[in-house]
């Protein structure tokens, strides 16, 4: 059972790392602000989410699990807000064609 949980941790965290990598490549390679924001949200939601899900079996009881999940939720909340604000400023400075 614990071997299965370890396997789950490795797979999920690796998946999360892949999405972080994809988000970073997108940040570096996409042409403008809006598409880069799009890439970053993948890292935020999916990447961090998979990492958190992978770490859940290793959390210390219910309290630790709730802390991990609240980290994910807070990052998503602030990430979504900041993306909106950045996109609004970018849209004002150079309106999409």
């Amino acid at each position: 059972m614990s071997g299965l949980l370890d396997l789950w941790t490795v797979v999920a965290v690796s998946g999360g790392a892949f999405f972080f990598l994809a988000g970073t490549v997108g940040l570096l390679r996409f042409p403008d602000v809006l598409t880069r924001l799009h890439a970053l949200t993948k890292a935020d939601n999916l990447g961090l989410g998979l990492v958190v899900l992978g770490l859940l079996p290793r959390a210390e009881g219910l309290q630790g699990a709730v802390k991990l999940l609240s980290v994910w939720l807070l990052v998503m909340l602030s990430g979504a807000t900041v993306s909106q604000l950045i996109a609004r400023v970018a849209g004002r400075e150079s309106p999409p064609a």
């Binding site: 807070l74 909340l77 602030s78 807000t81 909106q84 604000l85």
Partner: protein, 315 residues
């Protein structure tokens, strides 16, 4: 001695690359972003060094608050049309600086590599005295019991720095409000986020103080979170900075060190020495001191971030 792993090599290499980037980047804004990233990465280094309390402080204060300070300053400098410097340093000075820096770095590295084995340590002494403080976290015990005088002096240094910042206000604005007034967009995204986040952040800051008795945390880290929540509320326009001559501001700043100092003065009467805590009552006294201390720290950090008075002066 645990051998250095590939992870440590990786963290250090990226840290050095970020530091070099912060130095060599063409735009100031990029340099500051590189510096903030360096701070966040160093938090990982602190975890590898077995110091989670320091990692928390590095993220909150070293990376977060310092980054906010620098970004705000860069924006205001850019707005005043400070052109990119056009008189770079001569090559001779560059070479001399490089030689000097390399020499200092090499000297420090040599000192690190020749540290005595076995390493002298105060760990066992701290662990021995830990039960007498009623705490379980030796770093908190070091800050508030063993080296309480250092922490009191640090609070005073923070207040002096704040007075220094305040003294830079123009004469007619003395006692006014620091920073700019941010417009409120009551239905906007930022106001929504702040309304959700600030209560969570305040609870979190208090939790980090409360849990520091037995787990990583502390008054400084909690205070930094509270200061950031105040900044967030200001940036959303939901609150404005108070006038610096207001007595509540002055009391909020002074309460922490005053309580700390008063408890320390009571030490010789109750427990045998300045800043000695009464036997059997250490933990309640420490908690009673740390709560106003955290609020004062939050006030000082937030006001240092806000800067000198700029409007609504008293004169």
């Amino acid at each position: 001695m645990t051998p250095a792993s590939l992870l440590d090599l990786g963290i250090g290499a990226v840290a050095l690359a970020l530091a070099a980037f912060a130095g060599a980047a063409r735009s100031s804004f990029a340099a500051i972003v590189g510096f903030v990233a360096l701070g966040l990465l160093l938090a990982l280094a602190w975890l590898r060094l077995g110091a989670p309390d320091v990692a928390l402080t590095e993220v909150a204060i070293g990376g977060g608050l310092t980054g906010l300070l620098l970004i705000g300053a860069e924006r205001r400098l850019r707005a005043r049309a400070m052109a990119e410097a056009s008189d770079p340093v001569s090559t001779r000075v560059r070479v001399a600086a490089a030689v000097l820096s390399a020499g200092v770095a090499a000297g420090l590295a040599a000192a690190v590599l020749s540290l005595p084995i076995p390493a002298p340590t105060l760990g066992p002494a701290a662990l021995r005295e830990l039960p007498r403080t009623g705490l379980d976290n030796p770093v908190t015990a070091a800050l508030i019991a063993f080296r309480a005088f250092d922490t009191l002096a640090e609070k005073v240094v923070l207040l002096l720095a704040l007075v220094g910042v305040w003294s830079l206000a123009p004469d007619r604005e003395w006692g006014g409000r620091p920073g700019q007034r941010y417009p409120l967009d009551a239905d906007g995204v930022l106001a929504f986020l702040v309304r959700l986040l600030v209560p969570v952040g305040v609870v979190f800051g208090g939790y980090i103080l409360w849990v520091s008795a037995g787990a990583p945390g502390g008054a400084f880290q909690g205070g930094a979170i509270l200061a950031t929540m105040w900044l967030a509320a200001r940036m959303a326009g939901l609150t404005d900075a108070p006038r610096l001559c207001a007595s509540r501001v002055r009391w909020a700043l002074a309460a922490g060190p005053l309580v700390f100092f008063a408890a320390g003065l009571a030490g010789p009467l109750v427990a045998g020495g300045f800043l000695a805590w009464p036997v059997g009552f250490e933990k309640p006294v420490i908690v009673a001191i740390e709560i106003p201390l955290m609020l004062s720290i939050a006030a000082v950090l937030g006001l240092l971030l806000a800067g000198p008075a700029q409007r609504d002066g008293a004169r």
